[in-house]
Symmetry: D2
Subunit: 284 residues, 4 copies
């Protein structure tokens, strides 16, 4: 038995579900999960489907070809099929903060994440020891405005060499270049330490403290060229009060950052997110 | 155009979704919403589907007959179809507490609930004034162990007379008789002021206070013969601390009771709940 | 026995708590509650204290005079003393939305609020029936840019006539004039239907939907001349997903607005809020 | 300057706060934090106070002696004073689950915890590699009913040797002996993977799944001889639905366990908890 996940989006039309599920039935597939969504404003249809089928009678190649011919072409679908065995390769970008890094590596070591972490890239040497503690290759790539081109080239070479599928910025404190964003479109996940769109940019905890909010938050989103404006994957919040200092905000915020980023990584790795119109559809 | 909601459950089998969606396509129906669930342990399939179709070409009667013949019979389905126009009739049972009653009547008057409240039944006279304030018929039916038979008969007569579809116990402090439970199976909603299964029975806030919990809760569930053991529809919680007295628990709890009961009523009235094996499937 | 609440703020200095509590001991008062806060950045001390004392030996006048002489003057305190008997008078300002109004009047009728509602003021006639249902005087005062002066004068006359202590804008859709804000400084409570500072101004649910946030919120704050920029009293949030439409946001938001405004009213009426530097200290 | 934390409890009496704060003023101490609580049912007073004072004029020994003579003796107080420099020593007890262990060691390495972890004790060898990864001594002490006495002795020897102040059971799957509980009264913290008092004992996620709850939880508590009945320190919850399997409950629960245990450890290490009458006062 092979388990596959199919993601589809296309213009909304009649009989899409009927046609797709009929096709699954034709390969004697067993639907384990099906969720769909129609964006009524944009008239776009989204579907996520998990099914099992016997590899004795059908190969992945056959299925992909048939799916393209009989469904994707007539319905003008964008679609992807993933097999359960393949674990996506995730690159971690870090700077000096270690709390998200420890959390991700702890989860990874505990076997909670269906992915591989082939390397960690940083613009500082500080966290090399953490990477070594978990036996993951660590690459120091200095990065600044002046050496942007060179830094980007080194990053891209490593990402290519390690066949990286997606990138997670675990409190990485440098701008990602437009070329890298284009190469990994909707495949770079950032964690921002505020409840976006409140407090974008630098020092959000300080701004939140100054404003006197009663709740702080964290937001994970796909990186686009507009800083902190990409499609939101997950958010969460924590209560604060007048009795909390900026330091308390930061400490509480670390827990939010950890949790929200971990959830976003899991959702992405399990193919539960789709992006459209700068928003996400999250089939969770 | 007519909008209908279809609820289905049956043994899990291949091609159910394909067959149902194919049928919807055959009446040129437009699926607005589809969600399904498979209880893997029990091997049961559940589906909720909303669709529009043109009443010029198909009548409800035709659809119901065809659905029975071509889908329900071969797949051995339990199924229900609801039209959007029909507003279910909800009877409110109350005793002396008025906070849930005010909340429900406020929402009802503000047009938030897709239902009708033809009557309020109480074992006390206390809340007659509230009912009158909202111009809803109020019936005082004394109830105690001694006059159980008579009380039940009067309740049943009124429920029949007003064609009541489902019952909400808005802090009604008397036992519901087995006959009434049988008559309104999975159609009587209670609100219990604890996080079930913690603190069933009487005085849950007192027990929670004594135990020193850091979170209190409320639970809405369908009424079964086992007290506080019926299928849970919705729960919510609120943080408490050592600084809160039992009175504080009760006051905070009122908000939980209001919110949790209001959500359960909305879910039930919008046909978003299904019951199986003393648990609910809630398609929200 | 008399129960009083004392609110104090002054520059932080040594021995404030010792001096105040020594004074309470000197009138044989029993401290029921004491909470204090030091704003380390601004070096300001805040305290809220509840105590009982016997009115046989001390009058409120004596206490106030002694407090002024022996504590407030030497420590340069701003201070207020409230007796528990006095119920503050709250004016409700509404427009056309009725959900917050129903919620507040329901709580008021159920005896949950330690305050009086002598009148409701509106710039529309729509909600007169609701006010009448709860037997509260309703005044229609048209308001627009053109008749601002006249509207404001009528509002002020009524507020004076009914000896109003504080004002609640229960989704009142007109600007409050600077003169009225000055007259009721930190005594006008608004509910804004977003998680401020995200989405200030008009149509926040639409903006939240467009941005694709995963959590929506509501914020109650004291009104200042800067729109949606006043000191925040309370906030709360609710999860949303891609499957929710703008209409769903609005419906979910109504519950947030109700709850957050109700909590802010309660906190204010129970003298649990203090304002400093456009932020609140909330002793809850 | 020396920063100290004072914890007090005694029978409620007049002038306690006045006397304590007067004493702090007498040593020219600066109160940074003061919170107090009166258990009205039991008539017990609790206080937590942080203050700075100059060690040039007063030694800790003087302060302790004076405090005993002038305050503790007359008011019959139980009291403790902690200096900020001393970091309490925490022993970790683990079995086979590694998620809480990774989380705690990650936080510890990231410098979030004001404590030392001198050793890890386990009844299995499985997690030795994790301990070594973080360079913390790991001791394998087999434990079962048959070798209870011997296991307990070995545990006690190590705890003594390493001068352990408190113990954290990070999913340790063996009973703690009454002697050890007596030795570390209110100093052994357990994490239970349910919302206590719901689902005590074994396999709470399975029970929660069977009952069809809509919210699962985790509870950290001090260990007493009654299993899962000790004073609750912290609880938190997570929403679940019919679509979640037992495996999903377990995965979601791991995050709850991590967070709730981490918070309890922090509260205990920072001397923010007091125990009375099988309940905690948590000054957070």
């Amino acid at each position: 038995m092979q388990k596959i996940t199919i993601l589809i989006h296309c213009q909304d039309q009649k009989a899409i579900i009927a046609s797709v599920t009929k096709y699954i039935a034709s390969i004697e597939g067993n639907i384990i999960y099906l969720d769909q969504h129609v964006d009524a404003d944009e008239n776009v249809f989204f579907m996520r489907l998990e099914c099992n089928f016997s590899t004795q009678n059908w190969t992945m190649d056959t299925i992909k070809r048939d799916f393209q011919t009989h469904l994707a072409t007539p319905f003008k679908m964008s679609w992807e099929i993933y097999t359960q065995e393949y674990k996506p390769k995730m690159a971690l970008f870090v700077s000096k903060y270690d709390h998200c890094l420890y959390d991700i590596l702890g989860r990874y070591s505990a076997g909670e994440l269906q992915l591989e972490i082939p390397l960690i890239i940083s613009n500082h040497e500080d966290l090399r020891a953490v990477a070594e503690r978990f036996s993951i290759p660590f690459f120091y790539i200095p990065f600044s405005k002046e050496i942007k081109k060179e830094g980007e080239r080194k990053q891209m070479d490593l990402l290519k060499e390690y066949k990286v599928d997606f990138i997670v910025l675990a409190r990485y404190m440098q701008i990602i270049t437009p070329s890298l964003i284009a190469l990994y479109k909707n495949k770079i996940i950032n964690i921002h330490h505020s409840f976006l769109p409140a407090f974008p940019g630098a020092k959000p905890y300080h701004s939140a403290f100054k404003r006197g909010v009663k709740i702080i938050g964290a937001t994970s989103h796909y990186v686009t060229e507009e800083l902190d404006e990409g499609p939101i994957i997950e958010q969460d919040i924590s209560r604060v009060s007048h009795s909390h200092s900026i330091e308390d905000f930061i400490i509480k915020g670390r827990d939010l950052e950890r949790m929200v980023l971990a959830r976003a990584i899991k959702l992405h790795a399990e193919r539960k997110t789709m992006v459209y119109n700068n928003k996400t559809v999250v089939f969770s």
